[in-house]
Amino acid sequence: MNNTFSQHWVSDEEKLEAFVLHKIDKEEISNLTAHLEKCDECRKRVQEERELQAGIQKFGRMEMKRRLKLQLRRDRSRHLEWTHVASIAAAVVVVFSAVLTVRWFFDIEKEKTQVREIILQESKPAERAMWIIGKVIEIKDKSSSLAHSRTSTPSIAKNEPEFRDNTRFETEARQKLTVESNAKSDNVETFAAQESPTLVAEDKVKSRIGFDSNIKHGSAPTTESKTELHKHAFAETGRGPIMIAKKALKDKKAPAVLVRRGDLKDLPVSMRNGDASVIHTRLERTPQGVLLTFYSSAITDSVATDIETIAPDSIIVTFRNRQIAYHIPGGWAGKM
């Protein structure tokens, strides 16, 4: 660059930049261009400036293109992420719905075996016992038909399907009880005593009496009442209050059944209605097996003398003066 060149317009840095950037008005451009035609050095300087600006612009475009590509890639991966998350969410919803459907289906099944579910789900070691729906399907006065007690068992077992027809015999029994309403305190005993002789010879269905106890979570007998029960049992029989009749059921899964007569004082107040026709039953799990307690004024003995399995869901319990055929829907194994 010489002294004479400094007099040329291209030596003005701002003007040179503006010229290359086309930031000069048209009239001035033509003047400057006219000068460039005469000045080689000036043309070279303009060319250098143009290349410099072109390089910067090209760099800017490349950088922008790189950033744009990065942005698009990020957007795509975000979109994919969203799709991925949506797919997972959809899968979770489908699985959850399926689980709900299955649970809903089994809830219907559960309703059918409500007692069983209650026992399985709510029994805790501290409160194993509970009032259950069981059916005393036959009570007989043993003294009036001792011989019959053994012979009748197989016949009941044979007729097992009839046990399920509880509605019919319950209705009939209630009608019978209404007719004989003047027998108040020992309704069952009187009724059973009257009907027993005809039990074998005549229509058995008519003689059956069914009683439902309510499903109630009862509290376990108090320590005091248990002690009293124990004392009483020892005094009367010289044995423990619980006659452990370990007769394992034919089904190996079924536990042994233990039967005892319970003290009416142990009944919740709401259940002490004094109705002798009602036998409340209480089912408990014990280390020895299933403990079944009968609460009824119709049973005077505190311990059972014999238990006989007549079906997977039915037993005959023999007290000194009574025989009780007892049925639990679904069977013993199912309950415990």
Binding site: L21, L52, I56, Q57, F59, G60, M64, R67, L68, Q71
Partner: protein
Amino acid sequence: MQTPLFFLNNDSKLLDALRNGDEHALAELFQKNRRPITALIQRNQGTEDDAEDILQEALIVLWEKIRSGSFEYQSKLSTYIYATAKNIWFRQLARRRRELPATNEAFEVASEDTTPQEELEENERVTAVQYAMEQIGNPCRDILLLYYWEEQSMEEIALKLGFANADTVKSKKYQCKKALEKLVKKALGGTQ
């Protein structure tokens, strides 16, 4: 600037974003224009990759126009982008047919009366400037880009980069330009 009302609502937000230097608007425009541009390029011997590349270049042309204030809003943005992409692609196709080395068609700056030899030398020097731009650090890079590429005024650059005033930017820009020229000379081996 003409602003036909019927597509003002669709484009105005994007235009505002681009004017404010929001590059996310470019990504949005890319997605909106991807299908028609891909169809155009594929109908004319191109591939999907070509289409992406051409669309990006068209968007950058739009960016430059808007940032430098030379964009005239006379048609929908999508129409402008389509026309620009088509122009870039056909020029590139013509160049391919002549089997000339690939250059950045949209941004070619060589003088009209240059020989191929001169053009190659010119490209080499331009590449050297690009290389120098990669070497130079900030704030020089940003100042030079904002001034020479986005054609922002000194006041705008001062505001954007946090300089005290336009004079400070002007002084800094001068220093940066000299530093860049040195780097270019170094890159060209002192031949310039």
